[in-house]
Structure formats: C-alpha cells, structure tokens
C-alpha cells in the first residue's frame, strides 16, 4: 500500500482527466488495491477540479430551453402516472370479456334447449319403435298361436253359419289349450258405435251365453279373431254365436245372433 509515491503525483491529473490511457489504467489498478490514502487524495482532488467550473463566464440559458424541458418532463410524468394508476371505470377488455360471456351463455342456453329437444325427439322415436316392436311381437305371438291352432290336430274345426244368407260363412278352430280362432272374408263393418261380439253357448240347460271379445273386421272385410283364454271349456260349450252389440260390449246379447256354429 505504501508504494504510493509514484502514484501521488498522478492524483490531480487523474481527477482532471488529463492522464494518458496507460497512466490512467495503472493508477486505477493501484486504487483497486484498496489504497485509502490515494482514494482520499482523489476525492479531494475531484473537489478541487470541480471548482474550475466557476471559471466559466456567467451565462444563462434561454427561456425556451426551460419551456421545452418542462413540456417533456410533464408529458413523461403524465405517461408514468397513467401507466401506474388504473383508470376509473371498467376497462375495455373487461367489457369485451363480459360481452363474450353473455354470448357464450346465450349460445349455451340455446344449444342446451336444442339438445333437449333432440333428446326428447329421440326418446319419443325410441318409445314409438319400442311400442311398434312390442305390437309386432304380440302380433307375431298371435300369428304363431293362430298357426298352431290351425295346424294342430287337437284343434276342432267347425263352421259358423250366418243367419242372413247374404252374409259370408265363418270358420272357427278351437284348441283345448291355445284358444279359439275365428276367421272370415267380406264381413260387413258394424254400424257406428257398434261392434261384433262373440258368445259361448253352454251345454247346461237354462245357462246364459258367456260373453267373449268384441271385434271388428278390417277395411277389406277380413276377420281374424283370436280368443286366448275362452271363458269356458270346449266340452261344456254347445255352440259359438256372434251378435252386434254396442262398441263397449254387452253382458248379455241384445240382438239376435248373426253367426252360429255348433262346437260338438
């Protein structure tokens, strides 16, 4: 540290900025070693050099310089304040966010309603399909049962003759376990609010006819009646009869038989 002698002569010139590069680098390297005496001398010399500023002749800048400076400074202060302090009210981006949220909400509601309708339509369609399938299954079961009744050797076949000779003859098949099947063609449609009804006429003297199903021929006059569970057994039944009755059916015949067929 106390190799300062050679550097002490450089202190004032260093503070003045007059050292050539080589000397300046060497002196700064010495200062970097932590020499407090030289650092103190440099600080003192800097003050001395600073006094030289007062040798400059008095002069004043124009008012325009101050005006320009203040204009710049005020603009920068306003800009800095604007960048720090949040503006009053809701910023544009928030309004945009709210608008986007509203649009999304409306769209979601509309889409949910659309989906609900689609689901309802699909459900209704599925229910109709299911119902149709059930109906077809029932029809298939009836057809199978009819086919069985018609082909099984245990079935008893007999004719049902019309009271009116203009009416077609019907055919009946009775299987002891599967039931009764009545078929015919060109059967006239009963009048409005009326239906055809099947009756089982018991053998026992004085017994009343046993009511069975009410039915209608189709639009072409084709008649297929299937009675799965007859109200009475074939052995106790003397004959089958068909009358025209009110659409809801009757407990006892209210009209004369239109077709009658003897069972045994």
């Amino acid at each position: 540290m106390n190799n300062c002698g050679q550097f002490r002569e450089l202190v004032e010139a260093y503070a003045l900025g007059a050292l050539d590069a080589e000397e300046r680098v060497a002196f700064e390297a010495h200062l970097a070693t932590g020499c407090k005496d030289c650092a103190q001398a440099v600080e003192e010399a800097r003050w001395l050099v600073n006094q030289l500023a007062y040798l400059a002749p008095n002069a004043a800048p124009s008012d325009m310089l101050k005006a320009r400076l203040m204009q710049t400074v005020r603009a920068e202060a306003r800009a800095a304040q604007g960048s720090v302090e949040p503006k009053a009210g809701i910023p544009f981006w928030m309004w945009a966010g709210v608008a986007a949220l509203l649009v999304l909400t409306v769209y979601s509601a509309w889409d949910a309603r659309r989906l609900q309708k689609e689901i309802q339509t699909v459900n209704e369609s599925a229910a109709a399909e299911f119902k149709q399938r059930e109906q077809l299954q029932q029809e298939l079961a009836v057809a199978k049962r009819q086919a069985h009744i018609l082909t099984d050797t245990n079935s008893k076949k007999f004719a049902m003759w019309p009271h009116d000779t203009q009416m077609p003859k019907l055919e009946a098949m009775w299987h002891p376990e599967l039931g009764i099947c009545v078929m015919g063609q060109k059967v006239p449609m009963p009048s409005s609010n009326r239906a055809l009804q099947l009756w089982l006429i018991p053998k026992a003297p004085g017994s009343k006819p046993m009511p069975s199903l009410t039915f209608w021929p189709d639009a072409e006059g084709k008649l297929v009646l299937m009675v799965e569970n007859p109200p009475d057994v074939m052995a106790d039944t003397k004959a089958l009869a068909i009358t025209e009755e009110p659409a809801g059916g009757s407990a006892q015949p209210t009209s004369a038989p239109m077709w009658v067929g003897g069972v045994s």
């Binding site: 003045l16 050292l19 800097r46 003050w47 004043a60 101050k66 400074v73």
Partner: protein, 195 residues
Amino acid sequence: MFLAVLTPKDSSEVSPDAMLVHQLLQRDVDAFEQLYDRHSRIVYALVLRIVQQASTAEEVVQDVFLQLWRNARRYDSRRGPFVPWLMAVARNRALDHLRLKSERQRRREDQTEELPPVIDFPQFEKALDEKRRAERVRAVMGSLNAQQKKVIELAYFEGLSHTEIAETLKEPLGTVKSWIRNGLLRLKEGLQATT
C-alpha cells in the same frame, strides 16, 4: 493539512437539493423545476464554455437535466452534495459532445453512460454561495502563471490529456505535467488560504 478540513458526512443533515432529488424519484415535476431554476445557470455557463456555441450548449444542458429527471436514483445524496455531481455530469456530457462531434458519432439522447462519482465538500466550503465561490476561484486562478492557467483550462474545458496538450502547445510532456500538477496544487493552496 487540507484533508483535515474534510468532515465526516453527516447523514442527518439533508440539503434542499437532496430533498428535491428525492422528490424526483416520485416523478415530482415541481421539484424538477426548482432544481432547474437553482442550477441551470451555472450548468449552462460551464457547458457553453466547453462547447463554445449557445445552441449546442442548450442541447447539452437539456440532455443533462433530462438525464437527471430520468435517472435521479443514480445520485446518492449520502455520498456528497448535489451540485458538484451535477457539474461533473454536465462537464462529461459536454466533453463527450465535443469528442463525438469531431468523430461525427453523436450519442443518442437517452443513452446511459457512466456517471461521475459524487464529490464531497470540505467543511469550509459548505457555507459558500455560488457567487462567492466563483469570485474566489477566479481570484486564485488569476494568481497562477499563464502556462499553468492555460494547461489547466485545456485539460478541464477541452478534455485534453497530457500528451494532447503537449502536442497542442508544442511543449515537452514532462513540462506540461509539471505545469498542471503545480498549478492545481497552487490553486488548492490559494483556496485554502482564502477561507
């Protein structure tokens, strides 16, 4: 001993300049205006002496004060008074202007640069106002011989090194070094003697 008049820095004593500079950190425009009103004349005078042209001097002074406004945090009031630091900034900026003008490489206005260290006052200096300070420096400077005065001014106002001054004056390098050192020591003694 000259060092003996340097007093420890009193951190509890806050100068008006230091307070104003502190207010600049809060972007206080009024504080900036006060600082400008207090020191723009001496800064402008120094810069004009260096660059020798009024319009250029105003340009440099504008740069100096804008640098102060934008980088006030770079002045540390605990290390010394504000004015010497500001003067050193102004001198450096003016000398840079001179050098770069000759190289046609003007710096951009907002370019940051290495700032000078803060310079503390000796105790006897603290009470002097600007006018008395100038009168005293001029008086002591007037007591130097012509060579000493010339080389010091070439170094301070034109930023010339020992070698450049020697070439300019066509004098031996050792002689120039001697003139500068002896002149500054004489100046220091004179300033001490007039307090």
